[in-house]
């Protein structure tokens, strides 16, 4: 297979060159974890991370984003009339996004890019972004991507896939966007790798041993699964903190709020979470998902059943394992997925443990 060889020198030079035509976003070490941040001039992404604590979904879906601005000054001609907020949709590149997080963007796109409505904020940022992925040769114990339709070398949603090669990289260009970036960075040293890339992919995939079973989810009756007896047990320890939804690369729910400073105001959207009671409460006080059992069930049913039924593109989870690692009460989506998948079958008892 033809790959581009990028040694350390070319990597550094290429990043430097890209800085003039792209906004650069990459992993940066911060205390004990990594986070995706905008890189300053001369700053290199730290590609020695396992995975970032938060997914880079913020690149196209900021945690807080202005939608409209307006004046509340009665003397103003346009008082009370909403105007588009100023936006920066200049080209940007995410360096080192993991294949699971890139695939997650494709799943989220199903929500924001529909036949009937197109979300301009999400789509414009997505279109402005080039995704340079970094293959995972050393997965975490909580990674289960290979059983979610993804994998450590998965290419979906990426423009370029990098794999570590000594202190440099081998690169596989996947799209026109990727080709443009490779040319702009001077990463053009193409050679046949003698199958090394493919071998590394197979080895990485073999290294992921944690798995979920999803084969029965689609055929399952929604209401039977909704009424399953395990939800009380699954939700018992949940404190509805919302951590799982904030760090999940496939969670997209948001709130819309107005904020006023003096006579100027803006309408913005902020990440929201199905874990919070206020997410669904009616003005009357009635709450259709009024208990934590309702809310925990909603999160898992949405990811593992409603989404599956609605789009027929598998589960709304890429197996990144963040929620497994960071849930303060150790709720494990792998266990819940197995409970759901085996519900009503002979294996149900085994999954319940």
């Amino acid at each position: 297979m033809k790959v581009i060889n990028i040694d350390q020198k070319k990597w550094t030079k290429g990043i430097d060159t890209l800085g003039s035509s792209y906004k650069l976003i990459g992993p940066v070490a911060e205390k004990d974890f990594h986070t995706f941040e905008i890189l300053q001039q001369g700053q290199l992404p730290d590609m020695s991370f396992t995975n970032t604590r938060l997914s880079p979904k913020e690149v196209v879906f900021p945690q807080s984003e202005d939608m409209f601005v307006y004046s509340l000054d009665q003397n103003d001609e346009d008082c009370n009339i909403l105007k588009e907020a100023p936006k920066d949709y200049s080209p940007r590149v995410v360096l080192g996004i993991r294949p699971c997080d890139a695939r997650a963007m494709r799943l989220v796109k199903l929500n924001f890019d529909t036949e009937q409505y197109k979300d301009p904020y999400w789509l414009r940022l997505y279109e402005a972004t080039t995704f340079v992925g970094l293959a995972c040769d050393q997965p975490c114990a909580t990674c289960f991507c290979t059983s979610t339709g993804c994998g450590p070398y998965h290419e979906e949603g990426l423009d370029i896939l990098l794999a570590k090669d000594g202190d440099g990289f081998k690169a596989k260009v996947l799209t026109d966007k990727g080709r443009q970036l490779a040319e702009a960075s001077g990463w053009t040293d193409t050679a046949d790798d003698g199958g090394a890339f493919e071998n590394a992919r197979r080895a990485a995939e073999a290294g992921i041993t944690s798995k979920v079973a999803t084969d029965r989810l689609r055929q399952m009756d929604t209401l039977e699964l909704y009424g399953a007896d395990f939800w009380e047990d699954v939700s018992f320890a949940c404190i509805n903190c919302g951590t799982c939804t904030y760090l999940c690369p496939t969670c997209w729910c948001f709130d819309i709020q107005d904020e006023v400073h003096g006579k100027k105001g803006k309408r913005m959207r902020n990440w929201d979470s199905c874990m919070f009671p206020i997410f669904t409460v009616h003005t009357t006080g009635h709450n259709p998902r009024g208990t934590k059992l309702h809310r925990v069930r909603q999160r898992f049913m949405h990811k593992l059943k409603y989404f599956v039924d609605k789009y027929d593109q598998g589960i709304m989870c890429v197996g990144c394992g963040r929620c497994v690692q960071q849930c303060p009460v150790n709720i494990d989506i792998r266990r819940v997925c197995d409970l759901m998948n085996s519900y009503g079958s002979e294996n149900a008892c085994a999954a319940q443990g």
Partner: protein, 297 residues
Amino acid sequence: MDLKTPARRRDDKGGIVQNPYLPYPVRIDEIVVETEDKNLKTFKLVFLNKEDEEKFNYKAGQFAELSIAGKGEIPIGIASSPVEKGFLKFTVNRAGVVTTHLHSMKEGDIMGVRGPLGNWYPWEMLEGKNILIVGGGFAFTTLRSSIVYMLHPDNRPKFGNIDVVYGARTPGMLLYKDELIQWEKRDDINVHITVDTTDDPDWKYNVGFVPPITEQKAPQGDENTYAIVCGPPIMIKFTQPVLEKLGYDHEHIIMSLENRMKCGIGMCGRCGIGKELVCKDGPVFTLAAINRTPREY
């Protein structure tokens, strides 16, 4: 039968033509206090730009997001009818931040409207059928829109018998009283007005809750008859068995749901009942379709 929303805002090139979150600017043209408790007002809104009015092409049963700069948005059923041109009407209960502020606004004030949103009562399918409308309290707004639509001379021949059962707590809590009285006098629609209680000795309509009045007055259900039901949860709960007793199939009972909403276009995620989103796949569902969802509304 699933009541799907036909795609209407398709862009041939697949690009982004219009920001679906941007409200059209409108002026409050008239405010009418509807009820004796003064908690319900009807706002008549006029578009500032004529081309926006043309784009706002709606059907009876749809809703819109009313937008107030500095406060936010609120999803409200459209009370005016597609056959009424030049304005939109919304009847709004004062309840939360946005609606309370709206109730303090004056004629001439500028606000926004975003929509039309959601699906509508399935008018194409309802042609040639008998229609029973059952409404309670201030959920009568899109039903008013529907009645005005069906009674329009161009449309009335398209429908069979039209029966309406509409109830409120007291005579003073009925919406659109002048129109109700006019409809009551017509012979091409059977209007059964009822109130829970009244101390008015001259009250010449029904007294009683909506479900028993429906049982007494509504026509039998059959394959040519559809019921459209909109009201508070308690009314819906006790009306359903009445309609079943009258012979209405769950496919023939059409309901409009409410849930907390923000985006109104199926993106923000909160109004889901299973895989259906009330804002985009609804708000109109048959009872048969609702039966297939977890009833999280």
